[in-house]
Symmetry: C2
Subunit: 341 residues, 2 copies
DNA sequence: TTTTAATATGCAATCGATTGCTCAAAATAT
DNA sequence: ATATTTTGAGCAATCGATTGCATATTAAAA
């Protein structure tokens, strides 16, 4: 069990040259002759040399690590985005450190700190639900480290951002529900300080108005949008005898809970109540009936997020090219919201 | 936009002491007086000093990074295990680098290599489905770097491992199906070189035998166990007119596909066909009927995996304490497999 | 043949933190 | 008052790779 790893000095020793030459040979520096390069490569392979990225990072100041912060990797949307980021990053010889904030502000702050100490070359993040203050991200910018936000963004920061047009997605969905006969549509939403919920709600309201329907505040319910929240809220609405014939949720999880409760209470979906969620989580296609939802274009989002990141990374810090990319989401119509079923 | 980060030398300069002293002060070394320590701490805070882990890693040879390789983070089981690992790791001041192999052998090999180059202090992994050769993991061991495997393990390696008792889980499930009247149970399985599928199949066969039923090779179907595989296989079985009254799948995804096809073909579940999956993915409780499945105890598994890892890390490399932990999974009985529905 | 220009490599400093060894000053013991 | 400890810090090397600035050798030009 030999623990010692080969270094460029070991190679140098064997060939009776200096470490500098070895280093240059390995980096394909034109100042080194092909003959030497070949010899170096050969010995490197022979003694199983593996570069020490730590040493290189210290010297160059570049760790080739990117910190990625998501609320939770356990969601189709986030893991797809991560995959998109990872693909581009890996092809450019970067590794990503995935960290989860679990939607907890404190954890997010600590994570940012830890990533900075690990000397990541940049950070890509989607903000936690409970985050109301972004000083920790400001610190990142102050250090001149590239930062790109996606999906859960904030306007308090001058950074590159990638989002979908949440207003559009919600508008399309609600318009679709109305076209299918809904007149009293309940809306599940969450903390309005979070851009995505705010925008989706605006889309909901605008669609109602444009179709000559009234916005009834009693139909707009705030929660954490988990499955249990959907269940609880749906039951409360049913119990309160409020009149409704549709539900549009900002999350697939809470609409799932609502669907369960609706069925438990004998409501026919979509005959009596039409419903739609947001996020296109895979399970929405497994339910009975399958649930209409909005696809967030996670793959392109990951790709574009990574592209924006590397653009920033390669830019001369002076011309900080903070730009906002907005993708169009896609309404996925399934049985839960249509008449002809 | 100042990019320069403070170092211990900056602190030393301000206080007219040496960097060594600062370093010791920050590490609370007893050889430094309290007065000096206080001054150092004060200046450190004042100039917003943040330790450079890279430099420290180079010198100490410890990066305080743990590489975690999973087939995909986009699965409830894996993300739960990751969470368990992360919690313990963070509390000990370690960060984890999560990498996904996407169940691809080549990617796994590259990932291991990349993690080694990043000089992680150890690796925790669940092996990719397509991996048939574990030389890349052997290399990890040869370097004396702690390696712990969970769930998808291999016997070709002398390392600490954490698994559930797959045989037990499968046995319980199949026994349950039989007790509920099934006599011809189809089994969806995958590559038998992967321990979990092999064990689950053994459990399936043993349960049949112990109940006086025959093992019919025609009922054992190999695939990748994705949803589409489940759909395809189920349709093929139906088309082939093979007699069956139950399906036990080694994966929740393929049983989901099977359920869809069964319903599309007019089969009543569970009245005519009883089904059960494995994994307790959240969506199994959302389906109609909800699907009986096996919970893999992901939270304890993550915790125990991390514990085993740190045990190895702290052990004197001589007494390598490779140990295997086996957790009991839990059968979650739902409507898809019971009579009284 | 001498000068100039390429070409190939070496030297030594550097990145920031850590640590074994040395040493001066202060405290205690004889 | 001298000898011995104890305490607090400094010096310099180290981790492994990189790089600006020589330098030696060879080739081409004058």
């Amino acid at each position: 069990m030999k623990k010692d790893r080969a270094t460029i000095h070991d190679i140098a020793l064997k060939l009776n040259i200096t470490a500098s030459t070895v280093s240059r040979a390995l980096n394909d520096n034109p100042r080194i002759s092909d003959a030497t390069k070949k010899k170096v490569l050969k010995v490197a392979k022979q003694i199983n040399y593996q570069p020490n990225h730590i040493a290189s990072a210290l010297r160059s100041g570049k760790s080739r690590l990117i910190g990625v912060i998501v609320p939770t990797a356990n969601r189709n949307f986030f893991s797809s985005v991560i995959r998109g980021i990872e693909e581009l990053a890996n092809s450019l010889n970067y590794k990503i450190i995935i960290s989860q904030s679990y939607d907890d502000f404190e954890k997010e702050v600590q994570t940012v700190e830890a990533l900075l100490n690990a000397r990541v070359d940049g950070i890509i993040a989607s903000i936690a639900k409970t985050t109301e203050n972004v000083d920790h991200f400001k610190k990142v910018l102050e250090k001149g480290i590239p930062l790109v936000l996606f999906d859960r963004i904030t306007n308090a920061l001058e950074v590159s951002q990638v989002v979908i047009d949440d207003h559009y997605g919600a508008y399309q969905t609600v318009d679709h529900l109305i076209k299918n006969g809904c007149k009293r549509i309940v809306h599940f939403t969450s903390n309005p300080r979070i851009n995505i919920y705010h925008e989706r709600r605006r889309g909901y309201e605008d669609a109602l108005k444009d179709n000559g329907l009234e916005v009834d505040p009693n139909l707009i319910i705030f929660s954490n949008l988990q499955l249990e929240d959907g269940r609880r809220i749906m039951q409360e609405i049913i119990d309160s005898k409020i009149d409704f014939d549709g539900v549009f949720s900002s999350s697939d999880y809470s609409i799932m809970g609502a669907l369960q409760v609706l069925k438990e209470n004998g409501y026919k979906v979509p005959a009596q109540v039409k419903i739609a969620g947001f996020g296109n989580e895979p399970f929405t296609s497994f339910t009975e009936p399958p649930i209409t939802t909005v696809d967030q274009k996670s793959i392109p989002m990951g790709k574009i997020t990574a592209e924006s990141f590397f653009e920033l990374l390669n830019a001369d810090s002076a011309s900080s090219v903070a730009k906002k990319t907005i993708l169009k989401p896609e309404l996925i119509i399934r049985k839960s919201s249509t008449n002809n079923s």
